[in-house]
Symmetry: C2
Subunit: 468 residues, 2 copies
């Protein structure tokens, strides 16, 4: 799973390269070794070389590229920022890789209707900055939000800390322009909150990991920017109490805008990385934010603090927005901080129904011990989405073998409690072999057939999701 290799490399013949260059010009069709290398990896650190990299700037260019490739039976792999954790942007069969880096325009921010129309290569953070200037808000905030792209976010149905209250990317996509096999554009959705004409093709496309078609334009729903927020830091000495606290907060009728946890190893990794003043001896840390109307959140944060205390935590409400910002900066440093702990980070993102967290979290930690692996757990515990990280030396075959077994047990644990093998990262290459654990053969068969409706020759991002 971590050492996936290209299956079958389809070269791009010269006549196809020439046709692509006619559309894009010489400088946006790259086929020298160095350029191909630059586009051969993503956050998995697996490397797969494309045969040619193309860089379109317009929807029409994408249409022409897809038409040329499809007619010549060349596989097409779309790529946003390459920040994915499951290999979604890797060209499993070589062929043409389409980088959306130059389709990075915010086409429109319509304040009256609270929608934004963007190209797929817009960086998530750039949209957020622009809409917040106008008193609007685009909630989905994957850890990579400063460099990942909205096209990738839609393809993976990206999440993030704020999704526990505001929902995932799926809840914000209103319309999509999607280029399919013959180069035609399928338009789906409407820029309205309600629209029930026809099948919901938009939501079939969201989370399809680029295997159905290529997004060229995205309309996103925006909401009013919350007027205020408060953060509480709660330190626990055992993990089961954390699970109970999460349950109790929701049962009190409070919907936090973030409810994040990090275990002792995670806390120490962050402190090594940036000295944020987190308690190095804490077993578990919860960071909880509530947002909304200033008068409401004063009450709510006090109630959250009380619930944490009742469950045995040492609690501190951030006094200023600066104090709160520092806590969230620490949380955001987690991903790079943890990555420093070892050569290879196996980053899984399983999900448990909330009520099972008190039971499941201690069992999760046992898996790391059983296989004698350094395991760091953190994540979006408010929605049951746990990032279970095994920090290994990828060059040590024994450690890799133990990690593979451990990951399988992690997935089994999530499924045992009715959860999912992936909450945010998608399936891609690395989880493809586990799809039969979560789905029956007929369910996978249906997904395969749906892919074929849009992509009869299996050339659009092939080799992904276990449905090729």
């Amino acid at each position: 799973m971590f050492n996936a290799v290209q299956k079958e490399i389809i070269p791009v013949p010269d006549n196809v390269k020439r046709a692509l260059k006619e559309v894009l010009g010489e400088h946006r069709v790259l086929d020298d070794e160095m350029d191909r290398l630059l586009y051969s990896y993503d956050a998995t650190r697996i490397k797969m070389l494309p045969n040619v990299v193309v860089i379109p700037e317009t929807q029409e260019e994408v249409q022409k590229i897809v038409k040329i490739c499809y007619e010549n039976e060349i596989p097409i792999t779309p790529r946003g920022a390459g920040s994915g954790y499951t290999g979604g942007a890797l060209p499993v069969k070589g062929g043409v890789l389409i980088s959306f880096e130059k389709m990075d325009k915010i086409l429109e921010i319509d304040e009256d209707n609270a929608i934004a129309r963007v190209q797929p290569g817009v960086i998530t953070f750039n949209l957020q900055k622009e809409v917040e200037k106008r008193g609007l808000f685009y909630p989905p905030d994957p850890a990579s939000y400063k460099f990942c792209t909205l096209g990738g976010n839609v393809a993976e149905n990206a999440g993030g800390p704020r999704c526990v209250k505001y929902g995932v990317t799926r809840e914000y996509v209103m319309e999509l322009n999607t280029v399919i096999h013959n180069g035609e554009i399928i338009h789906s959705g409407k820029p309205t909150l309600k629209d029930v004409a026809g099948y919901d093709i938009t939501r079939l496309l969201i989370g399809s990991e680029g295997t159905i078609g290529l997004f060229t334009e995205i309309t996103l729903k925006l909401i009013p920017k919350p007027k205020a927020a408060k953060t509480v830091k709660a330190i626990f000495s055992d993990i089961a109490s954390v699970g109970k606290t999460v349950k109790d907060i929701f049962k009190a009728g409070i919907s936090p805008s973030a409810l994040e946890f990090m275990d002792n190893l995670a806390i120490n990794a962050v402190e090594d990385f940036g000295h944020f003043g987190l308690p190095r001896d804490a077993e578990v840390l919860l960071l909880i934010e509530v947002d909304g109307h200033p008068k409401a959140i004063d009450d709510e944060i006090t109630e959250v603090a009380r619930i944490c205390e009742m469950n045995g935590a040492k609690v501190e409400i951030a006094k200023t927005t600066q104090d709160a910002a520092k806590l969230w900066e620490a949380r955001r440093a987690l991903s790079p901080a943890v990555a420093k702990l070892a050569r290879t980070k196996i980053n899984e993102d399983i999900v448990f129904p909330r009520s099972y967290l008190p039971e499941a979290l201690p069992r999760l930690r046992e898996i790391g011990k059983k296989y004698n692996l350094k395991m760091v757990n953190f994540g979006h515990i408010g929605d049951g989405n746990v990032h279970a990280n095994f920090m290994i030396n990828g060059l040590d075959p024994d450690e890799v073998a133990r990690a593979e077994k451990a990951v399988e047990e992690v997935f089994n644990l999530a499924l045992e409690y009715g959860g999912s093998i992936t909450g945010e990262h998608g399936v891609g290459i690395t989880k493809a072999e586990f799809m039969p654990k979560q789905f029956k053969p007929q369910e996978l068969e249906i997904m395969k057939k749906i892919k074929r409706v849009f992509d009869p020759l299996d050339l659009i991002n092939p080799g992904k999701m276990g449905i090729d």
Copy 2:
């Protein structure tokens, strides 16, 4: 469109009836004239006779029914409460009609995870009552909520007044068990807020109007019950100001939990029906509710009232919850009240992007005048979803012909502003012919092919949505 007739009636041969009776017993397989008549209509008042009506009580029975019918090439039409406005539950091709009236059990309300597991025949209101007893909340509230069923709500992706803040049925469905052509059950989704494994089959099924498969079990997301609510009544003397008010409320960063309008004819219809004390001379009435934390909503309702006044309205904030309840009772009486205005109610539910309402609403009213038809407009103006009702004598062919032209103009108007021909009611039979207005041929072709993935012989609720 209003006088749709059965296309081709497939009779159910005796051997199939016998097989069905073996599964269900004599008394749950109905084929006498009177029983068939009872299941031959819905809220469209179009009549289409099924050949046989079957009433399963379990998932396993549904599986067997579908298997028997499919093997014998008998069309299958699922039916909830028959409260749909577009003919979704009518057996266009005769055959077997499956009524879910006895699959009406709430299987589980899991307070810890805030989810409910139900059979498809549960009445929406019954679930709402049960979860509210536990401090939880199921927001979708179609006008028919006291008798419509959750299976039908999922099939149609039902909306309602509260959806402007809380989203439509789609946002609350977590898992589905769906019986497909061969009698097998497809399970989709997980009872967690995040899950990105595989294609989003759940959301493909939501709003598919029963044309893909038959739901036998539904897991719904619940949220904390809002702690308090306040309502304001605002009376306007012109419709363009109403559109501007709606825009201004959202631009102030307020997300109302209902934002409903009714025009003069609607107000008078309600007053004739129930004497709720609404102002009979008002041109337009807005009812606006905000809900949430008690301290926050005091501020918000004051701000909403101020915005209405600035736009020229006469405003009154309901002093007590009883006063507020009376206003909402008036709103809920609208559907039956308006139905009394004429023999036939043509009830359309177009959607406009919010910003176009000031311009579109006066134009909408002109259509009624142009065709000399009694036109009543009301609806969920907060999300741009307008119920445009033509009250006609369905026995007068000239009036019917004018109404058909008027409806087409109404759809054209919605599409001209980038809206949709249906926000809540679905396509069914009555809007099927208009699908090519909203979709390109290739987009419709894709929907047809997706249907065939699940239903190769086109026997599952055939003749609907313009994709047969």
